[in-house]
């Protein structure tokens, strides 16, 4: 197959003042694409071609290439991770595109995710949200036996559904408001469904929301684009969970 790519190229890191930093869309054509290639392998082919012709390759984040590390992720024709549901960019295959397709590839766009280079963005904001309280404060040591606290299977399953988040940032990228509420909701919901997590639930809800706001993410307007593109198909229920937890925490605040 053959594809025509429009890719955002930007060599300097974005700053709060200048987000665009002379970046622009550049058009490339790639032939010898096999339908069995993953999307990133197609970009590999492009990059090899570029290097041979003396042009710097397109920078993009990727690592595990099996859909779990959350490194990869680009906007493909305006949809985070591309057209397949529940799929990361690395697990997207070229068989999902037509021969001769014209594909637009852009980095995640959010003020909280400044572009570092080409398609690479800085997602440290997510780490800082987690650092503000998405954990259970237990030191390494000798906690009670793992089976000492039975957890009803439905609760464990709900916690798991939220915990599958891979932190890729597609929710932010696809949200019309660049809101991070699916991500933050997943963190809050994960712990809210476990007895171990209940001890710090109020503090956690307050701190995470505060940090999220500080990072400059937008606000959820319940359009559910995040749910549609989430590669782990995390349900928007987690946002309702977060809202509830936050309200509860605020109501009880002294």
């Amino acid at each position: 197959m053959k594809v025509k790519l429009h890719i955002w190229r930007q060599s300097k890191k974005s700053t709060r003042k200048d987000f665009k930093q002379d970046g622009k869309m550049v058009c490339y054509e790639v032939d010898h694409v096999s339908p069995d290639m993953s999307f990133l392998e197609m970009l590999d082919v492009l990059n090899e071609d570029l290097i041979r012709s003396g042009e710097e390759p397109v920078a993009f984040d990727h690592d595990c290439r099996e859909g779990i590390c959350g490194s990869c992720g680009v906007m493909i024709d305006g949809v985070a991770h591309g057209p397949e549901k529940g799929t990361t960019t690395c697990q997207l295959h070229m068989r999902s595109f037509q021969d001769g397709a014209e594909i637009y590839i852009e980095p995640w766009r959010a003020s909280a995710f400044p572009v570092i280079r080409d398609l690479v963005v800085d997602r440290a904001a997510f780490d800082r949200v987690v650092q503000s309280g998405a954990y259970i404060s237990v030191n390494t040591g000798a906690p009670q036996d793992a089976n000492a606290i039975p957890i009803p299977k439905p609760d464990a399953d709900k916690a798991f559904d939220a915990a599958t988040c891979i932190g890729c940032g597609a929710c932010v990228a696809s949200c019309k408001n660049a809101s991070a509420m699916l991500f933050v909701g997943a963190k809050i919901s994960h712990f809210a469904h476990l007895p171990q997590g209940k001890v710090e639930r109020e503090q956690r809800a307050r701190n995470l929301v505060e940090q999220m706001d500080e990072e400059g993410f937008g606000n959820c307007t319940n359009q559910y684009e995040c749910e549609a593109v989430c590669p782990k198909e995390i349900p928007i229920r987690v946002i309702a969970d977060m809202n509830r937890e936050f309200l509860r925490a605020k109501a009880k605040e002294e």
Partner: protein, 636 residues
Amino acid sequence: MNLDARIPDGPIQDKWDTRKFQLKLVNPANKRKYRIIVVGSGLAGASAAASLAELGYAVDCFCYQDSPRRAHSIAAQGGINAAKNYRNDGDSIWRLFYDTVKGGDFRAREANVYRLAQCSVNIIDQAVAQGVPFARDYSGLLDNRSFGGAQVSRTFYARGQTGQQLLLGAYAALSRQIGLGTVTMYNRSEMLDLVKVDGHAKGVVVRDLVSGEVRSHAADAVIIATGGYGNVFYLSTNAKGCNVTAAWRAHKQGAGFANPCYTQIHPTCIPVSGDHQSKLTLMSESLRNDGRVWVSKKQGDKRLAHEIPNDERDYYLERKYPSFGNLAPRDIASRAAKEVCDDGRGIGDTGLGVYLDFRDSIERLGEPAIKARYGNLFHMYQKITAENPYKQPMRIFPAVHYTMGGLWVDYDLQSTIPGMFVCGEANFSDHGANRLGASALMQGLCDGYFVVPYTIGGYLAGQRPGAVDTNHPEFRKVEQEVEDRTKRLLAVKGKRTVDDFHRLLGKTMWDGCGMARNKAGLEQAIRDIPVMREEFWQDVKVLGSAETMNQSLEKAGRVADFLEFGELMCRDALAREESCGGHFREEHEIEGEAKRDDENFAHAAVWEHTGEIHNSIRHQEELVFDNVKLAVRSYK
């Protein structure tokens, strides 16, 4: 090279307690004065960094990814072993210990493995307390499953993403410490060399992958937790960024490298689909609990799977290993697959593949039950191959997955460089020549949560805190070397891309030092690799500059190290004139099974760097087996 493992005396059950008592303690008030560098943020690195910070040490943690949560531990699917005996099926610490030593084909250090089995139970408790959502049954209690190489159900799991859930637990603990200011995290920072002062590890030189800046960091001790070197084969199940650089640099600074030839080839991976392939994807070993492995009895059988009647199918694992059947350990299952493919009975266009068939399980248990167990794995398989595994059997083939070899460490996980500790896959100590399924997560977390936080104190107690800072001339010297090397890579301006060289090296390694090795093949590889290395430094094409993010430059540095390391690996494989675990020498076999030579090779081979790889010196740490009897490893 001093290879005293410093194993405590006394009965094996008491050794760890003995050591914990022997270790000198650091006064709690002084702990914050000690700075510890942790390189790598996977299970071993994150858990070590978090635990050390909890104890009060000042910790600097580095990872090359954009977040510590992305380390490749995250990709482990199947589970984690622990001798909890929740199933009441006769499991015990002793049995886990025995299974692991036997599974490693009697090439692991007994005392370390016993400690691993002891700590395994604490890991589960710790993870549950952190909120790791392990699978539970309807009583609300933890569920277990059995895994390759074991006849008890001791594997805890979290659907198909146990690795991610455990890593998120460790990452959460680490994040908590970062938030508290006790750990300083350096994302997108790659360690490019170790700095020694007066023979002790006192810091690292890293490159900031965003700004390109080369920086020094000083500390009182360094922990290397940078994973394995499977990417020397180019195609492996490792993440694209996994590399040997940190370990290799440490080796060149004087750390012994043990058993580099021990690599694990995982039997259930998705076969290669073409030349463009950039990595291989593993399908969890847990699939072998319900899937049956087979090929046609006829050579070159081009019929589709469903056209081959039952009596013309060869369920070769069940036939050869009746008592373990499809659950035979990884090395054995992989080799058996290679054997049938070599026999011309492999499936698909390439003939490099075998079937993993769920037809019988679906008939017996129903599709919903199979879906509940493996739904996400089937989904992933379907996404990659566009084939429906509920309707037609999966196609699988072995692929490089894990490396048992690594930097040599003593019982305290300290390398031959004082002050440098090595945790997780990066060290060599616990899995011998083959790792059992669901044991990697166990080892990474055991090292990080429960071993190194104690043992490092024993070292630090003898050190004056903050004795060295980055103004020391050694740091300048190493920084300069790192910068020169980077400049050299950019200055070659040749014609071939980094990936070209990496692919070529991978193929050479796979052909010469892959699933089966022989003298001629290894010697050929040992001749080829230095030539390749030479060409690399004359003809590699790395564009851009060192002062910005430059992914080609990062890759080039890693491949340059693989080009050196690969040769050592082949030399190690050549020197080990026996077959054991993942190291199968065609010259040493009985009826297709590995033939160990306990008389001459019951030791860990530890390599010392002396300047040129062909001059590296092979030392030996004799392995003493007081508690298990060396036996032919039989799964029949």
